[in-house]
Amino acid sequence: MVMMIEIFFAFIATVGFGIIINIPHRALVVAGLIGTVAWLVYWLFFNLQLGLALSNLTASVAIGLLSDVAARRMKMPMLIFNIPSLVPLVPGGQAYQMVRNIALGDAAQGMRFLTEVIEITGSIAIGFLLAELLNKLWKKIMQKKASF
C-alpha cells in the first residue's frame, strides 16, 4: 500500500517539476510515466541490496533509454523528458544533511554526506552516458539492418 502511494507520488512530483520548467503540455503525462518507471527501477534495485550507486545508475539508464524512445515518438527534444523524470533521483536529503552538518560545525559527518552526494550525482551522469551509448548502438544496428 505504501509502495503504491509512493509510486503515485513519484508521478505527481515529476509532473509538478515539468510544470515548473514549462515543458509542452502534451509531454507532461509521458514525462511523468518515465519518472515513475525510473523511480520504480531505483526502488527495486535499492531493495535488492545493490547499493546506492548501482541503483541510481540503472535508473538513469532507464530514463535515458525511455526518453529517447519518447522523443522520437513525439518528435520533441529529448531533454524535455529526461529533466523532470530525474527529479525523484536527486540526492536532496543527503545534500541537505551535508549543509546542515557543515553549518553546525560537524565537518566529518558533512563530508560523509558530501561523498554520498557526489557518488549519486556521478552515477546518474554515467547512467546518462551509458544510455546515450546504447541509443547510438541501437541506431547503428537499425541502419545496418535497413541497408541489407
Binding site: P24, Y96, A103
Partner: protein, 230 residues
C-alpha cells in the same frame, strides 16, 4: 534557444539546418553559453549574437526545434519561418503563475514523502514549498538577480519550516526543508552541463555546471543561515 535552456549541440544543429536549407551548406557556427558567432564563407562579415539573459522555458526550445525541422522539409518558407519565430518569442503559451505554484506544491510534498517516508508533513511541506517558489519567482521577475532569489527563497523556507514546527503544525524541520527546497533545484543546468560535456562543448559545459553549483550553493547558504540563528 540558449536563453531558454537548450543544449549547445541542439542550438548549433538548428542553426546549421537553417543555413543549409537557405543555400549555405558550409556555414560555420561557434556557440557558447554567452554568445553565438556565425559566418558564411563567401561573405566577409560574421554575425555575432550575445546571450546575456538565461531562463528556463523548454516549450520554446521544443517549438523552435519543430519549426526548423518544418523548414528543412520545405513545408514553410523563410519569411514564414521568421514570422513564426517572432511569434514564438513573444507569445508562447506559458503555464500561468498559479499553476506553476501548484506545480511547486506538487513537487515538494510528494518528494518529501518519497525521500523520508514521512506521511504527516505532506500538507505543510507542500504549502511552504509553494510559498518558497512564489517568492523565488517574484524576486526573479522584479529584481532579476540570479542567485539572490534562490538564497532568499531558501532562507524563508527554512524560517517558515521552523515556525511551522514550533507551532505544532509539522513534525520534522529536516523533512519539511528537504521537500520544500526541491522546486528550486537547478535540474536543467545540471543536466545540460553533463550533456554539453559529453558532446564535446568544453566551454559551455563547465560554465553551466558552474551556474548549477552556484545555485546549489545559494540554496545551501540560505539553509545554513537558518541553522545558525535557530
Amino acid at each position: 534557444m540558449i536563453e531558454n535552456g537548450s543544449e549547445m549541440a541542439r542550438a548549433e544543429d538548428t542553426i546549421m539546418r537553417i543555413a543549409t536549407n537557405s543555400g549555405y551548406p558550409d556555414a560555420q557556427v561557434f556557440s557558447t553559453v554567452t554568445g553565438i558567432i556565425m559566418s558564411i564563407p563567401d561573405q566577409k562579415n560574421a554575425q555575432v549574437e550575445s546571450v546575456s539573459r538565461r531562463s528556463i522555458d523548454l516549450e520554446k526550445v521544443s517549438w523552435v526545434n519543430r519549426l526548423s525541422r518544418d523548414y528543412a522539409d520545405h513545408k514553410i518558407t523563410l519569411a514564414d519561418f521568421f514570422e513564426q519565430l517572432k511569434l514564438v518569442d513573444q507569445a508562447v503559451p506559458y503555464f500561468p503563475f498559479w499553476l506553476q505554484v501548484l506545480g511547486a506544491a506538487l513537487v515538494s510534498g510528494p518528494l518529501m514523502t518519497i525521500f523520508c517516508n514521512n506521511f504527516y508533513d505532506i500538507g505543510v511541506t507542500s504549502i511552504i514549498g509553494a510559498v518558497g517558489f512564489a517568492i523565488y519567482y517574484g524576486i526573479n521577475k522584479t529584481l532579476n538577480i540570479k542567485f539572490i532569489s534562490e538564497f532568499v527563497a531558501s532562507l524563508l523556507i527554512g524560517i517558515l519550516a521552523v515556525i511551522a514546527v514550533r507551532l505544532g503544525l509539522g513534525h520534522s524541520v529536516d523533512n519539511i526543508i528537504i521537500g520544500a527546497v526541491m522546486p528550486l533545484v537547478p535540474g536543467v543546468p545540471l543536466t545540460n552541463a553533463v550533456r554539453d560535456i559529453l558532446n564535446g562543448h568544453f566551454v559551455s559545459g563547465p560554465a553551466r555546471g558552474m551556474e548549477a553549483l552556484l545555485t546549489a550553493a545559494a540554496i545551501g547558504f540560505g539553509i545554513a543561515f537558518v541553522f545558525r540563528f535557530f
